[in-house]
């Protein structure tokens, strides 16, 4: 019943995740589940203003409240500032002189109970001088607009201008040129586990931090600098993580600074847990963007040139906006061949909560616009939407060759054509396009899209990662990685790679949560980098351990190590498998016979740094990924022509080229989940409603998340390309479908109803008015 891929013992076939049992029984401990003896509760005082000068903070009343053990404000941090990169350190742990968004933290307390901590927060008296604010990029860019950061004129956070080829010439030569404006919404990341942390100091110069962070080595580095500690003394121990999706759980939140500071002051463990209200009002959001796309094509629909102008609301602080704007532009040259490309990007500071990375980071915005516009172009030219995609799709390079885009992005494999062909076939497009499906006032339509995403993302600072494989004397194995499983399944993948290389079973490999005191450093769980890069480290570490064992086996069999193999826990001479011994016996001999060995395999990831150089953000050239996944999607929607309610149907297919599916069901949930929770969510459901910096729908009732009843039972087709730069051929899985889902749904709405929804999400009211306008226009024509 289940598909298997490749000729391997462990990988390429369904395997239960190594952490599934702990999760399904409730044993798995998340940050908020941790309780320590003597633990205090922390709470944060936040600003009611979106933009205000702080004139004074008086904590004396709070300090006098019985049960309050400590109070902290930004002043305790001695001017410490932090940011996504050295150049963008513009944020304090707590605002000291000015708040820049509503509910920005200004102080925190630790008390013996949650109730007292909350009461104490209310007793902190902050004197504010409210300031006029800017609440969208178009206000922010106006001359004389209030400045969010006094040292940042024009409120400009990021600006890029790139040109490749000659777009003006190409537009002049084009048969058809279209210009359209698209808009993507302000979105929550969608994790249900809110930020939470427990911190304590086992010694005056030693910090232990257990937080809901997807990338443990971010707080490791930032807290070391903040508290002036050597990295060796910062111990981040990962609990289980209830999803991440970029942003908040990579970066720091107020609670991540408050807990260590309050623990330092009190000498006791301090725990802080955000409410969903805190999360939905202050956590990082997906950037809202206003995207103008101008595209020129030949009469046959071949892309000649594209010009993109992207304007983004960056919110109060820089955070990851430089990377967002890079990704938004960089990958416009995929998955279709594009000979001329120009990009102007503007990201503005506003007095809204900060924007940052989110699953499908950057690419999602422009891929939505460009793939919807491609359908508009196809219609104008009388071309089939599948056909126009196939005509423009990048070909899969011949083995050993690399395709280079005009902005110097390189790929050794590209399965997009196969993906498009497979989804069209699976959804029965040739038959289906002949007749439009209408049932009463419900109209059904199908939309297509294609997308790409970078796997093994490499940034300029800290790319290196490693793994350790320790073979215990009884044959069981400890696998150590610094890469954090936030739900994507990477712990299972790491163990499976180690098991495959060593020739043992998945059940022989043990993995524990990341602990910076023991696990090797890793950049983090972002940019779909873990399987590709930490996976390569795992492979290298297991090979190192295996090499040590093969030497022992070779001695025993009186052959060379190259002549011995280990498979399915059997060690044998390749030429004569009768000469064999069990895995346990080999390990026992290696460990116990004089001179006894301790088998420790070490491996590093090298691709992140050395492959083809790093991307240059200012010029827009180079590789952000080690390799690139490709996705094509076909989605059917049901449009209620009377009410404007749109729903995806179960007629939904995604073909995904992840290179090689190491654990096929995990690739499927990643692709289905990315497509629905962060893709269809943007297309149909989710958007923060704002008023002067205030979030009007900060709860999960008014802020609509996609639920089971409307979930399309998406079929996932695996397209195998075996990428030479990924471990066992693997690329990324999940972020591609975040990018392919919105255009597929919007194209399907047009196919069903004849209306284009260019600004996401296509909530019922918006669709209703668009349908009404269309009806009136038709009547006027009559």
């Amino acid at each position: 019943m289940e598909e298997t891929f490749g000729n391997y013992s462990v990988i390429g076939k369904p395997m239960p995740r190594v952490d599934a049992r702990a999760k399904v029984t409730g044993e798995a401990k998340y940050a908020a589940d941790i309780e320590l003896p003597g633990m205090l509760w922390g709470q944060i005082t936040r600003s009611p203003y979106a933009h205000a000068r702080i004139l004074n903070i008086d904590t004396s009343k709070a300090e006098r409240l019985p049960g309050v053990m400590a109070v902290t404000t930004g002043k305790d941090f001695g001017g410490f500032k932090w940011g996504w990169s050295r150049e963008t350190r513009d944020e304090e742990p707590f605002a000291t002189t000015k708040v820049r968004y509503q509910y920005e933290g200004v102080a925190a307390v630790a008390a013996i109970s949650e109730d007292i901590a909350e009461e104490a927060c209310d007793l902190i008296e902050v004197e504010y001088e409210p300031l006029p604010g800017v609440f969208d990029p178009f206000e922010a860019m106006k001359e004389g607009a209030p400045l969010v950061h006094e040292n940042r004129p024009g409120n400009i956070c990021v600006e890029y201008h790139w040109t490749f080829g000659d777009v003006d010439k190409a537009f002049a030569e084009s048969y058809l040129v279209r210009e359209d404006i698209f808009q993507t919404p302000r979105m929550a990341k969608g994790y249900l586990e809110t930020p939470a942390v427990v911190a304590y100091w086992p010694g005056h110069d030693r910090l232990v931090f257990q937080g809901a962070k997807g990338s443990p080595y971010f707080p490791y580095r930032i807290l070391a600098r903040c508290f002036n500690l050597p990295l060796s003394n910062v111990r981040v121990i990962q609990p289980f993580i209830g999803s991440d999706f970029g942003g908040t759980k990579n970066d720091m939140t107020h609670c991540d600074f408050a807990a260590p500071m309050l623990a330092k002051k009190t000498g006791r463990p301090v725990k802080l847990v955000y409410t969903q209200f805190d999360t939905l009002t202050t956590d990082l959001r997906r950037h809202p963007m206003w995207i103008t796309i101008k595209t020129g094509v030949t009469k046959d629909g071949i892309l000649k040139a594209t010009y993109v102008k992207a304007v983004a609301d960056g919110g109060a602080y820089t955070r990851m906006s430089p990377l967002t704007m890079f990704l938004t532009g960089s990958c416009m040259t995929m998955p279709y061949k594009l000979p001329n490309f120009k990009y102007d990007a503007y990201n503005y500071f506003t007095n809204n909560p900060s924007s940052a990375a989110m699953r499908g980071h950057g690419l999602y915005h422009t891929r939505f616009g460009a793939d919807v516009q491609l359908d508009m172009i196809a219609e104008e030219l009388g071309l089939d939407p599948v056909d126009i995609r196939l005509r423009n799709a990048i070909e899969n390079p011949e083995p050993g060759k690399v395709y280079e885009t005009i902005n110097e992005v390189h790929m050794a494999t590209c399965g997009v054509k196969e993906c498009i062909e497979k989804v069209a076939e699976a959804i029965n497009w040739e038959e289906r396009k002949k007749a439009k499906k209408v049932e009463g006032h419900k109209s059904y339509g199908i939309g297509f899209s294609a997308a790409t995403y970078n796997g093994g993302t490499k940034l300029s600072a800290h790319n290196a990662c490693a793994a350790i494989v320790r073979v215990c004397e009884d044959g069981s194995v400890n696998f150590l990685t610094g890469a954090s499983d936030v739900g994507q399944g990477s712990d299972t993948i790491g163990c499976a790679i180690a098991a495959e290389v060593l020739g043992v079973g998945l059940e022989d490999i043990d993995i524990k949560r990341v602990d910076t005191a023991f696990t090797p450093v890793d950049p983090g769980s972002y940019g779909s980098r873990v399987t590709v890069l930490a996976g390569q480290a795992a492979k290298n570490a297991a090979e190192d351990a295996k090499r040590q064992l093969l030497e022992v086996a070779a001695q025993q069999f009186s052959v060379t190590p190259e002549e011995v193999e280990i498979k399915n826990r059997q060690v044998f001479v390749k030429a004569n498998p009768q000469r064999n011994m069990s895995w346990e016996r080999l390990v026992r001999i290696a460990c116990y016979e004089t001179p006894g060995k301790v088998i420790i395999g070490r491996g590093y990831s090298t691709q992140g740094i050395s492959l083809l150089g790093l991307a240059d953000f200012s010029k827009g050239v180079g590789d952000i990924g080690t390799n690139y996944s490709f996705t094509a999607q076909a989605a059917e929607v049901e449009v209620d022509m009377e009410t404007g309610v749109v729903k995806c149907t179960d007629n939904s297919v995604i073909a995904h080229d992840c290179g090689f599916p190491l654990n096929p069901p995990a690739v499927e949930t990643q692709v289905q989940g990315g497509g629905y929770h962060q893709g269809v969510a943007a297309a149909l459901y989710e958007e923060f409603k704002m008023d002067q910096g205030q979030t009007l729908n900060p709860n999960l009732i008014d802020y609509m998340r996609p639920r089971a009843y409307e979930a399309p039972m998406t079929q996932v087709i695996h397209v195998i390309t075996n990428d030479p730069y990924g471990p066992f051929g693997a690329k990324e899985a999940s972020e591609g479908s975040c990018c392919s889902a919105p255009p597929a749904v919007i194209n399907a709405i047009y196919n069903a109803s004849g209306v284009w929804i260019n600004d996401l999400p296509a909530q019922p009211e918006k669709v209703f008015w668009a349908l009404k306008a269309q009806k009136e226009k038709k009547q006027r024509k009559k």
């Binding site: 969903q276 739900g487 399944g489």
Partner: protein, 161 residues
């Protein structure tokens, strides 16, 4: 008044308890903070996300929206009470085997909602499965494999009985 203690007798996962709780204590707070049953999660405290789903007398309820004292005299089952010792319940087994679980934060609530459904309706239609977990938000896995795993478990449970 808000700190006034109320007496409470209830059964949790088959164990009887006699406790004193503040009147304002939520059932989820009792379970997590007092009884240390942290398998039940807190997500929204608005009855919107379903990660705190438990059973009271066999019915799936949101423990964030019920006062602990309202469970007086009732039988409460949490995720910790679903498996039979080391043996997983068929719903748990199907979710593990079928690869339905990603980050796992919604999983305990999802299991409790699915179990309430299958205890009452051993042969649900797909729409009934979807409806049973409609109140359980998931953030990452797309619901497809959860739905299929619950159907597989239902089939197994019917066959086994």
């Amino acid at each position: 008044m808000k700190d006034e203690l109320k007496e409470l007798k209830l059964t949790v996962n088959g164990k009887p308890y006699e406790l004193k709780v503040k009147a304002k204590t939520l059932l989820v707070e009792l379970l997590r903070n007092e009884l240390k049953l942290t398998g039940t999660k807190v997500g929204c405290l608005d009855s919107a996300c379903g990660v705190c789903t438990v059973h009271i007398d066999g019915k799936a309820v949101r423990s964030c929206s019920i006062l602990a004292v309202q469970a007086n005299g009732r039988k409460v089952t949490t995720i910790e009470g679903v498996a039979d010792g080391d043996k997983l319940h068929p719903i748990q087994e199907a979710m593990v085997e079928y690869g339905a679980i990603e980050c796992g934060f919604c999983t305990p609530g999802m299991v409790m909602s699915a179990k309430a459904l299958l205890d009452e309706n051993p042969n649900p239609t797909r729409d009934e499965v979807r409806e049973a977990i409609q109140g359980n938000l998931c953030a990452d896995e797309g619901y497809v494999k959860y739905i299929e795993a619950i159907e597989i478990a239902a089939e197994k449970m019917r066959g086994g009985q």
